[in-house]
């Protein structure tokens, strides 16, 4: 549905995004992940036809975003980062206007269906200016869903929602994502991890990596880390542990707790457990540690920033990620 090739956008002399290439198919939820200012919003604005790229080509549903802009806009639903609402209109009036401008048939019925979907049916006559932030966010979402678009582009959609609504929202996105294409940006990692089929990590206008959340985790974790807790002093234990082939990077964490890593592709937990018991210790805990997407994200975006700082070690390392 979405094909992006060599997308570049300059704001004056500043390059916001540089040579982005990615695709998203029907029935796919693509997560767009990156720190603030990475170029997520810029990319989405280009995809929705709000602004033209400096160079590159984007087609949505087979239509070019520049040459067939109106055709693209008809099949795209868009929720911008700042929710576009007229605060002196009621929820119904606003959605009616949006439905009319998008030429939605049976608009009245469709508006109530959508309000039901975002759980705002009881607020249809309320003024938008009097709604809470979370409710406004849902009105914005309703606006994007009204015309049942093939492609849904959501810029930071869960900001301002309370945890319960976030769960509902994820369910909603997953159900929509079954037969449509959803592109969702976020800097909240668990969200992307839970909702998306595929994640695209973008930093400083470039794609850092692209994979499924699971693959990403597996690929980047590489070696498996295991956290072990025993009864007794581990200092006597560690030399014995080093003798097991495949165990690397042993790090004591407390008097009775340490972590070790096994070389990729080997699960050494049975051997380690046997060794500990044979050495006369009680094994209390043996827990594999997975790098969360958060760690991976920090690692990826930090690595980028560290490249120039390697040249002069005196300079403090700038941490790119804000979250």
């Amino acid at each position: 549905m979405i094909r992006v090739f060599g997308l570049t956008k300059d704001y004056g002399s500043r390059r916001a995004i540089s040579d982005l290439t990615f695709n998203a198919g029907k029935g796919e939820i693509l997560g767009f992940l990156g720190p603030n200012g990475a170029g997520k919003t810029t990319t989405m604005r280009i995809l929705t036809g709000y602004m033209p790229p400096t160079s590159g080509k984007v087609t949505i549903g087979g239509y070019d975003v520049i040459d067939d802009s109106l055709a693209v806009r008809r099949i795209v639903g868009y929720l911008p980062e700042t929710v576009p609402l007229y605060s002196d209109m009621t929820v119904y009036e606003y959605l009616k206007f949006m439905a009319d401008i998008r030429n939605v048939k049976n608009s009245r019925q469709r508006i109530y269906e959508t309000l039901e979907l975002v759980q705002l049916a009881d607020r249809s006559k309320g003024y938008i200016g009097k709604l809470s932030k979370g409710m406004r966010q849902r009105v914005g979402l309703a606006q994007a869903l009204l015309h049942q678009p093939d492609v849904l582009i959501l810029d930071e959609p869960t900001i301002g929602l309370d945890p319960k609504q976030v769960v509902k929202f994820r369910e909603l996105i997953r159900s929509i994502g079954k037969d449509r294409t959803v592109l969702l940006s976020s800097h909240i990692l668990p969200e992307v991890q839970q909702v998306c089929d595929r994640v695209l990590i973008i930093n400083k206008g470039k794609i850092v990596t692209e994979d499924t959340p699971e693959q990403l985790q597996a690929r980047l974790t590489g070696a498996q880390r295991v956290n072990v807790r025993v009864r007794g002093d581990i200092n006597d234990l560690l030399p014995q542990l080093e003798k097991i082939t495949g165990v690397i990077n042993i790090t004591p964490e407390a008097d009775d707790r340490f972590e070790f890593e096994s070389i990729p592709g080997q699960d050494l937990r049975p051997q380690v457990a046997r060794m500990i018991v044979n050495a006369g210790y009680d094994l209390l805990e043996l827990r594999p540690v997975n790098l969360s997407l958060e760690d991976i994200f920090l690692q990826l975006t930090r690595d980028e920033a560290e490249v120039p700082s390697n040249l002069s070690t005196e300079e403090p390392v700038e941490v790119a990620a804000e979250n």
């Binding site: 604005r45 929705t48 806009r73 007229y86 401008i101 998008r102």
Partner: protein, 244 residues
């Protein structure tokens, strides 16, 4: 055409949701009423029949100052609130947004002009043998043309700014300059430059003709072309926003 109408309709309704419509109408009608009363009183003392010009004259001046207030928020507010982003990503062309905003303003001014019709009706009752209906009709046609021209300039200036106050004063400035081009034209005399300035003067196409009951094609052409030009520039300005 449908899109323009949808936007115009929303714009028109919004005038009545916000207090602007009521404040502007109240101010215009109050000032017009005071001037009307004073003129009728003076006429009755001096024993002459006042013409409809006692309404039309002040009304044009009032429109000059109130139309910038009506149009100032049309596009500036959309830009500030980010709602322009959703209009420009809806399947609507840029010029349809601009023309829709203008048409909404035209409908509102039409409503206001309809209310001011009250004064000619009253005047018609109190003077013998009634007012000059041809003069009134020509004046109102002129008023309509000149208002739509002001509105187009207002929507255009609103598209330049994301601040309503800036949009208001810029529009008022442009209107006043084009309203008073006749002054330097007088100084220039009967030269080509003077003629050009006189031709560009917004008021030069109203007072000598419509205001005296004369309808001339050149004036209609002038007002419609200024309107079209302003709407065109407004559309270009909205489109240029995309490139920034």
């Amino acid at each position: 055409m449908r899109n323009i109408w949808v936007i115009a309709e929303k714009e028109y309704k919004n005038f009545f949701i916000s207090p602007i419509a009521y404040v502007v109408s109240f101010a215009v009608l109050l000032i017009l009423g005071i001037i009307f009363y004073a003129n009728v009183l003076a006429a009755s003392i001096q024993q002459y029949a006042p013409s409809i010009q006692i309404v039309i004259g002040p009304l044009v001046t009032l429109l000059l100052f109130t139309i910038p207030a009506i149009t100032m928020k049309s596009l500036a507010e959309e830009q500030k609130n980010g709602t322009l982003e959703i209009l420009l990503t809806a399947p609507v062309r840029d010029w349809e947004v601009v023309v829709g905003k203008w048409l909404g303003g035209v409908l509102f001014i039409l409503t206001l002009l309809l209310v001011t019709w009250f004064f000619p009706i009253v005047l018609n009752q109190i003077v013998q043998p009634g007012i000059d209906q041809g003069l009134m009709l020509a004046s109102y046609i002129g008023l309509f043309l000149i208002s739509s021209c002001f509105l187009a300039i207002g929507v255009m200036t609103s598209s330049f700014f994301s601040n309503q106050i800036a949009a208001f004063f810029a529009c008022l400035g442009i209107l006043l300059i084009f309203w008073m081009l006749g002054l330097p034209a007088q100084a220039a005399g009967a030269t080509a430059g003077g003629d050009l300035l006189r031709y560009l003067d917004l008021s030069e196409h109203f007072y000598p003709t419509f205001f005296r009951g004369v309808i001339e094609v050149k004036d209609i052409v002038y007002y419609t072309s200024v309107t079209a030009l302003a709407l065109f520039l407004g559309s270009v300005s909205v489109e240029a926003r995309r490139w920034r």
